[in-house]
Symmetry: C2
Subunit: 142 residues, 2 copies
């Protein structure tokens, strides 16, 4: 168990009068060990392999906790389910999604970010967040 992330979660939990439980540790643990961009259902399947008593609702509730404590970000690639990725010590980036094999390439282009700011300010718009998803075929599926 990575202690830094557990610390972040515990800090958030203590600041909000919440409690650390076996289930929350298990879900955090699985989330951290897991490949990126997991869905709730996928995480549920992983968690229940080690602890079959954990309910799907708890996974949803814990994912919401992780999102609020800034350990996870919610992603939506438009396929009908939310996905989650690590956020702690993991800076902003965008996604290229291969529609054939599902591979996801992360990237960041400073100039794209810069021009977004430019377009926004030109329209008097204040950015709080943004997401750029590129869909297509990766080198292997082309």
């Amino acid at each position: 168990m990575s202690s830094k992330e557990l610390q972040v979660l515990e800090d958030y939990i203590q600041q909000n009068n919440l409690k650390i439980t076996r289930q929350r540790r298990a879900v955090l643990n699985a989330f951290l060990e897991c490949e990126k961009h997991v869905s709730a259902e996928e995480l549920y399947r992983i968690v229940t392999q080690k602890d079959p008593k954990i309910g799907l609702a708890t996974v949803y509730r814990t994912l919401s906790l992780l999102t609020h404590s800034q350990l996870a970000s919610e992603l939506d690639f438009g396929d009908g389910q939310k996905r989650y990725e690590h956020r702690y010590m993991h800076s902003h980036h965008d996604h290229m999604i291969c529609t054939e094999c599902g591979k996801i390439i992360e990237f960041n282009h400073p100039l794209i970010e810069k021009f977004q700011e430019e377009v926004a300010s030109r329209n008097g718009f204040t950015i709080t967040s943004h997401k750029l998803d590129i869909f297509g075929l990766c080198s292997e599926c082309r």
Copy 2:
């Protein structure tokens, strides 16, 4: 009824051995007259004002038809429902969504597009589509 769009729809329908019906005309009509970025439910409410007999399922089925015939594009701003916008004679653009009042500003920045291509080719990735959504506050809500 705008005849150009009806023609596009009829072409698609004839090419696929489908049929033109009163309901399909009505949904297309409402979609064209309507402000952009409608959801199925919103469109259903509009359509049933003129023709109360049309079912929600027909609206969904027709929206799928419009999407396949390239008259509409599906949008997903992550709020749990799909939205649709005109596509025919309406070139590609991205969206800035005000999280306060829901206003949507469309924009296009050629350099952002260009750098996306650059990032993609650098990764051996072939783009088929992309979407950039910027969330924040518009000038009035700031």
